[in-house]
């Protein structure tokens, strides 16, 4: 795309782009050489004066999924902000002190407040940056900055009286009365932060150390586990994936039985010559699944997640029995079969299952023996047992020997633990005792759930081959 001469004259930029790619890689975006070549090719086609085009073009070549795209936005912002600031500091370029803001009277401050609130309400991005600088200038004069940027941002926001919640005590006509749009407020805070950082860099003449993106920055606005809706969407996606995987297995014709009848019928098209062989479809055996789900208080936050997983699994697998347990065990297969609505299911489980008998604490030992006596005759090597729980026994006997019996009878046993692996086997968690009989997964994000699903579906196919 670009001749050698072109490229060398652009080298400073090329180096910058490579640095950006390096930072993207650090944040987990897979940027390959071919992507970089594309990026350079693309830059030859667009005008660099429009920041919007420049960013979009780079994004189209470097970030290849929605998550990557989000990380890209953040890294791009951070990278070019830092790059331009350090260049400015190196060349000793300072901004003019915002003149005309010596001492604002209260009236003027009120006007500024109203102006900012109006800009936020109308989503006027262009004006917002200038207003953020004015706000900083105005308030820096009134009170000393704390030196911690995050604190200053909140201080200024409070001083401006900006809140997302409606503030009915304000007079009618005030743009803040119905609450400032949350999204705009977030953007304004980001601008404040940015301007404060800029001022800090200017003061000290050096860059603060780069902060890697936190999980929080990285999460999509509709992050997993944030609310039931999000969980449900992901699980629905998972269900589709599960369904296609089953069909995929059907496509693998490892052993082929010719279907004579269909072959003959097809040969009529070719004048009785069997040109196309028709094979018997290979139907994978439907796996039989037993799911035990802990619904005690120690896993409250995870149980909604678990129940929706259960719900989704029920839609996919015909032969499935589910149980919920706290101290005792209770079969809820019927509930899932009769109720299609998730909310109704969880309500019925809460009211009818009758699992929280006496103390409300999980008693794993009792659960295993009850489970075993319930399903002993049905368990067989093709069955899969999945336990959803944190393996916290509240000091009671874990009865790993009974669990071993369950695991021995079932073909495969999985454990999904909603706690991070770090906390396993601390306190009353006895997952180690069970882990020797089953495969345990850490599962508190949807990505981890997907890992598990992959493990669940793949060996099942291999086993039935």
């Amino acid at each position: 795309m670009s001749s050698e001469h072109d490229l060398s004259s652009r080298l400073p930029l090329a180096a910058r782009i490579l640095e950006l790619a390096e930072e993207l890689r650090h944040e987990g975006v897979a940027v390959g050489t071919s992507e970089l070549l594309d990026a350079f090719a693309v830059l030859g086609e667009i005008s660099w004066t429009s920041q919007e085009d420049f960013r979009e073009a780079l994004a189209a070549t470097l970030a290849k999924s929605q998550e990557d795209r989000r990380v890209f936005e953040l890294v791009f912002e951070r990278f070019f902000f830092r790059a331009s600031e350090i260049a400015a500091a190196r060349h000793g370029i300072h901004e003019q002190d915002a003149a005309g803001l010596e001492e604002l009277s209260d009236d003027q401050l009120d006007a500024l407040r109203a102006q900012i609130a109006a800009a936020l309400r109308d989503g006027a991005d262009g004006a917002m940056r200038d207003l953020a600088r004015m706000a900083i200038a105005a308030f820096a004069r009134r009170q000393e900055g704390s030196g911690v940027i995050g604190v200053d941002v909140q201080r200024i926001r409070r001083a401006l009286g900006l809140r997302a919640e409606p503030q009915p005590e304000l007079p009618a006509g005030d743009p803040r009365r119905d609450g400032v749009p949350r999204e705009a407020l977030r953007r304004f805070e980001a601008l404040l932060r940015r301007e404060l950082e800029r001022a800090q860099i200017e003061r000290t003449g050096s860059l603060p150390p780069a902060r890697p993106l936190g999980e929080l920055d990285r999460a999509l606005p509709t992050g997993p586990l944030a609310d039931l809706a999000a969980v449900h969407r992901v699980v629905a996606q998972l269900r589709r994936r599960l369904a296609t995987q089953g069909l995929q297995a059907r496509g693998h014709r490892r052993h082929a039985h010719v279907d004579v009848r269909r072959t003959m019928r097809a040969s009529l098209q070719t004048g009785g010559v069997p040109v196309v062989l028709k094979f018997r479809p290979r139907r994978p055996r439907r796996p039989e699944i037993y799911v035990l789900c802990d619904v005690s208080t120690s896993v409250t936050s995870a149980s909604v997640f678990f129940l929706s997983v259960l719900h989704a699994l029920h839609d996919t697998f015909r032969k499935m029995r589910s149980f919920v347990f706290i101290e005792r065990i209770s079969e809820v297969t019927d509930i899932f079969e009769h109720e299609r609505n998730f909310k109704a299911v969880s309500e019925r489980i809460a009211s009818d299952a009758g699992v929280a008998d006496i103390s409300g604490y999980t008693d794993y030992g009792r659960v295993w023996s009850e489970f075993l006596s319930d399903v002993e005759d049905d368990l067989h090597p093709r069955a899969t047992v999945i336990v959803l729980g944190d393996a916290r026994t509240n000091g009671r006997d874990p009865r790993a020997d009974v669990f071993a019996q369950v695991a021995a009878r079932a073909g495969r046993t999985f454990w999904l633990n909603p706690e991070p692996r770090l906390y396993w086997n601390y306190g009353d968690s006895v997952i180690a005792a069970y882990e020797q009989y089953c495969t345990a997964f850490e599962c508190w994000t949807t990505a981890q759930l997907e890992d598990f699903v992959r493990a669940l579906t793949r060996p099942a196919i291999a086993a039935s081959r």
């Binding site: 693309v42 667009i46 189209a60 929605q66 795209r69 994936r241 296609t244 995929q248 496509g251």
Partner: protein, 306 residues
């Protein structure tokens, strides 16, 4: 909306000069692109790279391909993917019946070599969408729709087609593209696509449009609808999308709704008209209950509107 096979020549521009030109062109053929949409489409025409378009259902991914074809004056070749799609359906297939006829019509005594030479010629090849796109004399726009529905094996096969624009047929040799097709792949993200495929594509994420943008789209397709009503309509659709639904309404559905309202001669979107016409934008039994409850109430009954 309907794609006319040969648009009037003044709409057509075979090689746009800037992203701005693409934006304008797409507008003229009835598609209002977002900022990045126009840019990425432009880059793809310039670099000859396929574009992977992802986004929720009904944000105009397929429509983009159609509009590009109209704008560039190219034919649209569409390959609709589904589970179990194989090479015979996507690339090419030998026309057995014709081959058989050819063999039967052969005078006795013709040598095997001659026949073999004959029946594996292009004449006996049934070309499927990918083959059509590659061997076409005129440059085309190739749309590979819902690529996420296919198996990984099929994706692997696409790699050769997408990076080199060539197909190897054992009996014939290599078929190379004579012209450079513009390729769009769409995906609803129901399956993670392979890295190898993504690597070869430019990436475009299409989301539901901003309120103003959607308003413009609705106004374009239902110009008779009064401005205030169109705005209300778009706001309501936005509210409905914010709910947790099985199937949020797509852009096409907001256009349909606008047209339905026009047809019914409705003058105001209140709770009553909303419940009556809701089925245009909400297509699930359970969704309808949720929407009626949450959005219908907000709209208020006609009596409340003073």
């Amino acid at each position: 909306m309907s794609a006319s096979p040969s648009p009037p020549p003044d709409l057509v521009s075979s090689s746009p000069e800037s992203a701005e030109a693409v934006r304008e062109g797409l507008r003229r053929v009835g598609y209002l692109p977002g900022e990045s949409t126009a840019l990425v489409s432009y880059l793809s025409t310039k670099l000859g790279k396929p574009v992977l378009v992802e986004g929720p259902a009904g944000v105009g991914k397929t429509e983009l391909a159609k509009a590009l074809a109209r704008f560039l004056g190219r034919e649209l070749v569409r390959l609709q993917c589904y589970e179990g799609l194989d090479e015979a359906k996507a690339l090419y297939e030998w026309n057995y019946r014709k081959q058989l006829l050819r063999i039967q019509a052969e005078p006795s005594g013709t040598g095997w070599d001659a026949v073999q030479e004959d029946i594996f010629g292009e004449e006996f090849l049934l070309s499927r969408p990918l083959m059509t796109a590659i061997s076409s004399e005129q440059p085309v726009v190739l749309l590979i729709d819902e690529i996420d529905k296919t198996d990984q094996e099929f994706e692997a096969m696409l790699l050769e087609v997408l990076s080199d624009f060539q197909i190897s047929i054992p009996e014939l040799g290599m078929v190379r593209s004579r012209t450079h097709p513009i390729v769009l792949l769409t995906s609803n993200n129901s399956r993670e696509l392979t890295e190898a495929l993504k690597r070869r594509c430019l990436y475009l994420w299409l989301d539901y449009p901003e309120l103003e943008h959607e308003l413009e789209i609705v106004r374009l397709h239902a110009p008779e609808l009064p401005e205030t009503m169109a705005r209300k309509l778009v706001e309501v659709v936005g509210m409905v999308r914010a709910l947790d639904l099985k199937k949020p309404p797509s852009i096409a559905e907001s256009i349909d709704w606008a047209r339905a309202l026009l047809l019914l001669g409705a003058e105001e979107i209140d709770a009553e008209t909303f419940t009556e016409t809701m089925s245009v934008i909400v297509k699930h039994r359970t969704d309808m209950d949720v929407v009626a409850e949450r959005v219908g109430l907000k709209l208020g009954s006609p009596a409340d509107v003073v």
